[in-house]
Symmetry: none
Subunit: 273 residues, 2 copies
C-alpha cells in the first residue's frame, strides 16, 4: 500500500536503517562466498552454487535500493525522523521476489542431482508457481482496499494457491527423492525444505495480520512499520543467504559421497609442472 | 522526440520505475551468470557466452542511467508525480542499441560453430547492418517533425532497409546452416531467430504507431508513455537476457553433442597429469 509514513524516533529509524545495511553487507558477502566456494563441490553441483550467488546478488542490489529509499523518505527534524514526502518504495521487495523466489526453488531441484529428464520439468514447474505466487500477491499489496474480504484479501487468497501447491510438491512428490539420499544429505535437504516453509511463511502472515486485526495492528503506526521491515529483512537473510549455505553443505556432502575430494585437488599453478 | 512529459499517478510512475529497476537487476545478474557459466560449455563456444555477458553488462549500465533519469524527471507533489523540467533522456536506449544490437547478431553467428572463414565475414556483415539500422533510426527519433511523410517517416524508412536485409540473411542464407544442425540445436537456433524477430520488431511498431495514428495514440499521454517504456523494457529483457539464455542452451547442446561433458570435466590441475 502507498501509505503515509509515521514519524519515528531516532532509535526506530536507525534500527530499520541498520538492518537494511546489515542485509546489503550479508548478501554481497554471501555472493562473494558462493562464487569462490563453488569449486569446492563437484562440477555437477556448481550450477546450484551459481544460482545461490545470483539470488544474493539480486537481493544485495535491492537492499541497497531499499536503504537509499528509506534514507530519502525521512529527515531528522527537532530530534525526530519526519517523513519527507518522498515515497518509501516497498515494491522493491516484490521486484526482488519475482526474480529470486523462483530461483530458490530451482536451486533446491538442482542440488538434488535428479536425472536430467526429471530435473528440467520439475524446476520449470516450481519456478513458474513461485513467480505466479508473487505476481498474484502484488495487486493486493498495492491496493487501497485493505479489507479481509476486499481486493487485498482476494489477491492474497489467490496467491496462496500456488504457495500451497509448491508445499505439496516439496513435501509429498519430493518426499521419496529426499528419502532415497544418504541420511546426512536427506537431513540437510529436509532442513532446506523447512527453512523455505518457515521463511516464506512469514510473508502471508505479515500480509494477513493487518487485515485480520486492523485495530490491534494498524498498518501505519511506528511499531507496525518497524516490526514489518525488520521481520521481512530477517526472513530474507535466512531465506537467501542462510538457505544458500545449506545448499552449499548439501552440494559438498553429495560431492564427497560421489568421490570428489577438494583437499586432493591440485592447484592450477602446479598443473603445468 | 524531445517532448513534454505528462503528470503521472503514483501507480503509473512507480510501474515504470520498478520495471527499470527490475531490468537493472536482471541484466547485472545475467552478466554474473554468463561469466560464471561460460565454463559449462566447450572452449570454442565460450566466446559467444562472453559476448552475451558484454551485451547485458552494457544494458545494465544503460538501465541504471535510465532509472536515474526517470527519477530526476519527476517529483511527487500533492500526491501526483509532476515533471520537474529535467529531461528524461530516452536517447540512452539508442546509445545502448548501437553497442548491443550488433553484438546480438555476432553472438548468434558465433554459437553456430561455422568454419572460421565463413564466420568472420558473416559476423562483420550482420554487425554492420545492425549498427546502420540504429544510426539511421536516430535522426527520426529526435526529430520534431513527426509526420508520416516528414523527417521521422523518412529516417524510419531508411532504417527499415538494413533491418529487412538482416532478416533476409537470417531466414534465407542461414536457413541451410540451421537445417544442417541436429534437431535439438536447429529448434533452439530457430527459436533464437524468432525471438530476435519478435523483440526487434517491437521497435519499428512503437516508432510507427504514433506517426500513423496520431489521434488514437497521442505521443505524450500518460497511457502512451507508460505503455511505451514498459514495452521497450520487456522487449529489452527478452532480447538480451532471455536471448542470452537461449544462446547458452545452444552452446551447451552443441558442446554435449561434440563430447564435452561438464560433469566429467577434469580439474584444470589434473588435466595435464
Amino acid at each position: 500500500m502507498l501509505q503515509e509514513l509515521p514519524t519515528l524516533t531516532p532509535g526506530q529509524y536507525s534500527l530499520v536503517f541498520n538492518m537494511f545495511s546489515f542485509t546489503v553487507a550479508t548478501m554481497t558477502a554471501s555472493f562473494v562466498f558462493f562464487v569462490l566456494a563453488r569449486n569446492n563441490v563437484a562440477p555437477k553441483y556448481r550450477i546450484s552454487m551459481m544460482v545461490s550467488a545470483l539470488v544474493v546478488f539480486i537481493a544485495g542490489y535491492h537492499y541497497f535500493r531499499i536503504t537509499s529509499s528509506w534514507e530519502a523518505a525521512y529527515a531528522l527534524q527537532n530530534g525526530m525522523y519526519q517523513p519527507t514526502g518522498e515515497l518509501f518504495n516497498d515494491a522493491y521487495r516484490y521486484v526482488d521476489w519475482l526474480l529470486t523466489v523462483p530461483l530458490l526453488t530451482v536451486e533446491l531441484v538442482l542440488v538434488m542431482g535428479l536425472p536430467k529428464n526429471e530435473r528440467g520439468p520439475l524446476a520449470a514447474k516450481l519456478g513458474f508457481l513461485a513467480a505466479l505466487m508473487i505476481v498474484l500477491g502484488y495487486p493486493g499489496e498495492v491496493s487501497e482496499n485493505a479489507a479481509l474480504f476486499g481486493t487485498r484479501g482476494l489477491w492474497g487468497f489467490l496467491s496462496t494457491i500456488p504457495f500451497v501447491w509448491i508445499l505439496y510438491i516439496l513435501f509429498t512428490q519430493l518426499g521419496d527423492t529426499i528419502q532415497r539420499q544418504s541420511s546426512r544429505v536427506s537431513t540437510l535437504l529436509g532442513n532446506a525444505r523447512l527453512l523455505l516453509l518457515a521463511t516464506w511463511g512469514f510473508y502471508p502472515i505479515a500480509y494477513m495480520i493487518p487485515m485480520a486485526f486492523p485495530e490491534a495492528f494498524p498498518s501505519n503506526t511506528p511499531g507496525t512499520i518497524v516490526a514489518l521491515q525488520v521481520g521481512y529483512t530477517i526472513a530474507d537473510v535466512l531465506a537467501k543467504a542462510g538457505y544458500g549455505v545449506l545448499i552449499y553443505n548439501i552440494a559438498k556432502a553429495k560431492s564427497e559421497e560421489e568421490g570428489f575430494n577438494v583437499s586432493e585437488m591440485v592447484e592450477p599453478a602446479t598443473a603445468s609442472a
